[in-house]
Amino acid sequence: MTAVSGETPTIDISSFGLVFFEECAEHLAEMERLLLAIDPGAPDPEELNAIFRAAHSIKGGGGIFGFGDMTVVTHELESVLDLVRGGELGLTRPMVDLFLQAADVIAMQLAGHRDGAPVERDAIERVCGALRGLLAGTAAHAAPSVAPLPDGPPAAEARRYRIGFTPAPDIFCRGIRIENLFDELAGLGGLTVRGEVAGAPQLPHLNPELCHCRWELELETTAPEAEIRDIFEFVADDSDLAITAVDAPTAAPAAGGEEPAPRQGAAPAPENRGGREQAEGSIRVGVGKVDQIINQVGELVITQAMLAQLGAVLDPVLFADLHRGLQQLSRNTRDLQESVMSMRLVPISLVFSRFPRLVRDLAAKLGKEVELRLVGETTELDKGLVEKLADPLTHLVRNALDHAIEPPAARLAAGKPAAGTVTLRASQIGGKIVVDVMDDGAGLQREKILKKAAERGLAVGDQLSDDEVWQLIFAPGFSTAETVTDVSGRGVGMDVVLRNVQALGGRVAIASETGKGTRITLSLPLTLAILDGLAVAVGAEKFIIPINAIVESLQPQAGDIRTVNGTGRVLQMRGEYLPLIPLHALFAIGGAAERPEAGVLVVVDSEGDRVVLQVDALVDEQQVVIKSLEENYRKVPGSAGATIMGDGRVALILDVGEITSLWRGKSRERAARA
């Protein structure tokens, strides 16, 4: 804890809290890294010391910032580690596992304080119990060391919660069985339910498929509030859910669930903690509510753009005040939008955190030694992205372990350390999130990929650059486990990874050096709700092309365009022939420029291959709010959603991948007819 100075009583707990969270996460990562690396048979005393210090720092910090519950686990952990480091207790593999579980639990508590993430009290108790069991087993600590916990009610205490539940009207239609929900709650303890329909419309006007009910529940349970919230997880997003603890912790009720007498003494602790959380100024808000605000701010941005458009034609001198006001409005809306978008951002550690365990288990299974490094875990990105990033990243990490990292003997023979390293690195670069998955394994092997591609009938030649060769592994069906695993050590389902990432509006790049390793870079937009787009005009219509798909735009000369077999045109560019897709023809838009020379060509990158979109004109570059077409209508082929332009009209956002396949389909039809 570097930044803490006890002498100022009025420290801003929230900003220091942040420092603590960061440091604590670092200590945890360090502890986990050391634990994963340690050899239980012959532990390095220095490493044991380092683990002990990490645990000690977390405990100290937890105490300072009032996260008493975190000190409980760390205290037990520290005591056991102290014995191990003093040689009084021999280190075993199961103990290392237990320490790792303890680290998980501390991480969970940390997340609970930082993000309001759910905390499983059972897991905490289990780990503490096991640690205490180790202590009790040693002679020095034969005396009962099961002191009452300084904070956090032990498992046997029941609390009474009052739950107000007003579900969203569509809850029945979403297939949610409220009976099952309450049944689960009843499984936690004594439950009383009172439902009422006072708010429902009169019978003749009732839509019986919508929910008009409100429920008041009382639950007496030893389970933590988080567990109650978990039960409501799928329904509370857009519902009004209010959970309040209505009395102090009580002794565990008899099976009958009689009103238990309030217990002395233990009451103030949880209340204090509640106060502390408030002092940090965090509130729990449903994602649905945040999204609602984001949508409303999106509306505001559109209105602001419309006003700016209207104002732009007014005389700047006569309407100087108005212009100043409009500028101010523009700044304010942009700031507001940024603040609101940041509410959806979560640290990437939420997805990174699954990998140490995965790598450890998988390495053990494969008989390899692998060290995982995580860098930039605090990088923030959209919550929706984090969830969708988990699969492709898991795929890549598995690939790296399974195929790239060599067995220890092979590594030693190649003059490399026996243990391979896989690094996950996240960073924010400009408006993008970049995630690298790096390994120091065997690297991709050019010849074998080329050979494989040739077998697959892909058009390849020796003139391809390395980059172009690496791109081949993304070809759908290019690789199958039994062949490419042997050959290049990579490629299992890379097309799936590519598709997933592209579905998020991102890109995938590969760099590899034989014998040294491979780096796969995913670059993703910061958020799913907003997209940087280029507005283009075709006839009287406007479309948005995502900026991240655009390679370049150009005004073609007559000689640049060739016609192939009378079925389509291609653009000749730097020795390449790129298929030309006139959007007006694809979308049957009248009044657009027919000849490519009369329009503008936009070269876009579609899943590795390039195509050229012919439009009439580029309008402007803008950030657009992505709107769903499926919400009230259906998927529109060739579009990745829609947005609302400054003039209030809807414009489709183009999906260049889909456009390319739509066009190929049309070309085939034409060819078949010809």
Partner: protein, 111 residues
């Protein structure tokens, strides 16, 4: 559907009272309501219609809600309805969802 309304104002409900069928059930209830109101206009009001639910095969929260709204509506119009012959699954669903008061507490009915 074999429900009927006779002079003692007995309403028989049956079948599926879950989300897939509640709209149909609403229409049936509206028909029952019409008959009840018409019947009352003619003779001395039978103040306690009995709603027999013996043959209700399934019920879920949407069905409970619909019944509760129906019962409230009857009370608002001066009736004191009573639910009779509830099978076990009906009773347990109503009780799990906390609709006992709305559906079975006929004591303070009819303001």
């Amino acid at each position: 559907m074999s429900e009927h309304v006779d002079t003692t104002a007995r309403i028989t409900l049956d079948g599926d009272w879950s989300i897939g069928c509640v709209t149909e059930r609403l229409n049936e209830l509206i028909a029952h309501l019409g008959s009840l109101l018409a019947g009352r206009g003619a003779a001395a009001p039978p103040p306690k219609p009995e709603i027999c639910v013996r043959n209700v095969e399934t019920i879920d929260a949407s069905g409970c809600q619909l019944l509760a709204v129906f019962v409230r509506h009857l009370r608002r119009h001066g009736f004191a309805p009573a639910i009779v012959n509830p099978p076990e699954h009906f009773r347990s669903c109503v009780s799990l969802l906390g609709f006992d008061d709305e559906l079975e507490g006929t004591g303070g009915a009819g303001k």
